[in-house]
């Protein structure tokens, strides 16, 4: 009774908003905070874009972009960022999917524990997580000490301070960004569908391949986009786990902006990265749309 009454009250409140004196203004007022965020973001882009179109003397020019796209040294930062994001993301998916699956299918207390593990990781700064990985995978880290303790190796394997070290970080650190979107889709898949597939003779693997996996594709796509972008634009992880020997494009931007103080070139690299990112997002969107169309 009280629920009905309260629902009725909410309806009346909504209809008051819709029909009241502030009918026209309220939705627009509610848009103000979002509009401010968008305006700040777009304003920064316009400023960065403007700076990137200036030469050393401040005249309008494409010279910064020419420098970036014609110098193999700087293009390599973009290439290595794309390359490492391209192979780290699927590995993160392979690790994250089973975790999300177990989370979605486990009892509430177990799910809470699994969620807490991720949330703690999510709220820990990248610097701390990167340092933790140094303590695990470094020359003097847990992995190397364990292998040496077992007599499997005589001297530490250099796991960090090169591309593989950065990849380890880029696979493990963004795991929550992969797991949460997949989990949110998996937990909403009707259990009856899997039961129906089983009752029609499908074994567990077949049920997973033909029922669960296709239905979880939206979560996979969302996770892939988030992790790919995290990897592509990573700064702290390559900065710490690359040890100066495997810098990615965000590190190149930082160096130009903060060490060399060449803001024009830094802006040109940033804008180029933004364009590449938008192109990739569009590509993923097209692929996603085709998959959804094929499913129908």
């Amino acid at each position: 009774m009280s629920v009905v009454a309260s629902a009725g009250g909410a309806d009346r409140q909504i209809s008051r908003w819709r029909g009241g004196a502030g009918r026209g203004a309220t939705p627009y007022l509610l848009l103000v905070p979002g509009a401010l965020v968008v305006a700040t973001f777009l304003g920064s882009l316009v400023v960065a874009g403007g700076i990137s179109l200036r030469d050393a003397n401040g005249a309008l020019s494409l010279v910064q972009y020419k420098r970036f796209f014609t110098d193999p040294f700087y293009l390599d930062f973009l290439w290595r960022s794309l390359r490492i994001a391209a192979y780290s993301t699927p590995i993160t998916l392979l690790l994250g999917y089973p975790y999300a699956y177990v989370m979605a299918r486990s009892s509430p207390p177990a799910r809470l524990a699994l969620t807490l593990i991720l949330v703690i990781q999510l709220f820990t700064s990248d610097v701390v997580r990167a340092y933790a990985l140094i303590l695990v995978f470094g020359n003097n880290g847990i992995v190397n000490r364990a292998l040496m303790g077992l007599g499997l190796i005589d001297s530490p394997i250099p796991l960090l301070f090169h591309e593989a070290g950065v990849a380890i970080g880029l696979i493990l650190v963004p795991l929550p960004f992969m797991i949460f979107p997949i989990y949110s889709v998996l937990k909403n898949i009707e259990g009856n569908l899997e039961t129906a597939a089983a009752s029609l003779g499908a074994n567990r693997a077949r049920t997973f391949l033909y029922v669960t996996l296709p239905l979880s594709l939206p979560g996979i796509l969302a996770g892939v986009v988030l992790v790919f972008l995290f990897d592509l634009t990573a700064y702290v992880i390559p900065g710490m786990l690359g040890g100066g020997y495997f810098n990615m494009i965000a590190n190149a931007v930082f160096d130009q902006a903060m060490a060399v103080l060449d803001k024009r070139f830094a802006a040109a690299i940033s804008m180029s990265l933004l364009l590449v990112t938008l192109a990739i997002l569009y590509l993923i969107h097209v692929i996603g749309s085709r998959i959804r169309r094929a499913e129908r």
């Binding site: 340092y131 140094i134 303590l135 020359n139 100066g244 020997y245 060490a259």
Partner: protein
Amino acid sequence: MKRFLKLSLMALALQLALDGPAVAATPIVIQTWGGPFTDALNSVKVDIEKSTGTQIRLVTQASSVAGLQRLEAQKANPQVDLWMTADATAATALAEGIIEPLPKDLIPNLKDIPAKLVYPAGPTIWSSPRGMFYRADRTPFPIKKWEDLWDPRLKGMITTSIDQDKGMFIIIAAMLAGGNEKNIGPGFEKLKALKPNLGVIYKADAEALKLVQAGEANVAGYGVLGVVYKLLGPDSNYKFVMPARPQFMSVNLVTMIKGRPNRAEAAKVINAILDPTIQERIVEQLGSIPSNKNAKAPERIRDVIPPLEDLVVPDWDYVNAHYGEWVERWNREIVTR
């Protein structure tokens, strides 16, 4: 009850009027580095506020360059009164018109700062010795001079940086090879020979210590004394060496930002920071050398610092103009496997 409350409030007001620091309402904003620098300044803040009658607010910067970028962004409406920065960055800020010359007549303690430590941008507050630090228990021999870094026994053990002090490590390498900041080529050639010994490159000074503590490097080939200072001691495995030549100290200045209203109060705060007692208390925490000739360096670093006979002061205007080229060359030629 009401009467009791009234009396209590009056007593409280009287107490605040008698005991509270007599400080101006508008605070003097000091932009400085975080961590130990903020801690050190916080430890003397109350005394400075009492002696100057001026309230102080500290804002932190990730680095001198990051601080400069913030001040550039605020140039039309500056929010900082005093800026602590390295001499190299101060030169850039002076050229950009961000800082203004000090009102020397309002800073009597300037008379006790050696003339060569008073720069056009502002006076030195302390100097931070640079050298090498290492773990004696993990290093095959005691390191004494810069050339020791090239010893093949240190293969893969060294961490160093180009970001620290605007490429000073390259300048030192150049000087060892007969060059200097204006003839940097020999430095890069010398560094190419060091590549087998380099294990990891650090960006921020504290990272060097973290890497040595974690066992990822045993030697910080270019290190800040202040970072490792509290770990030093006769029984400690951590050793700091400031080689006899070339010697370098990062000079930290306090500068006055142009366009702020509280010039006289800001000058009073600078004067208080240059006071020998305050200086001694600050450098005790930072492991640095005070600029006031009447203040003493901390006891713990006196044995570590040799006579300063070959102190290098690079031409920072030249370094600033060429640093971009050096960074590019460093990335192309040195940090490659």
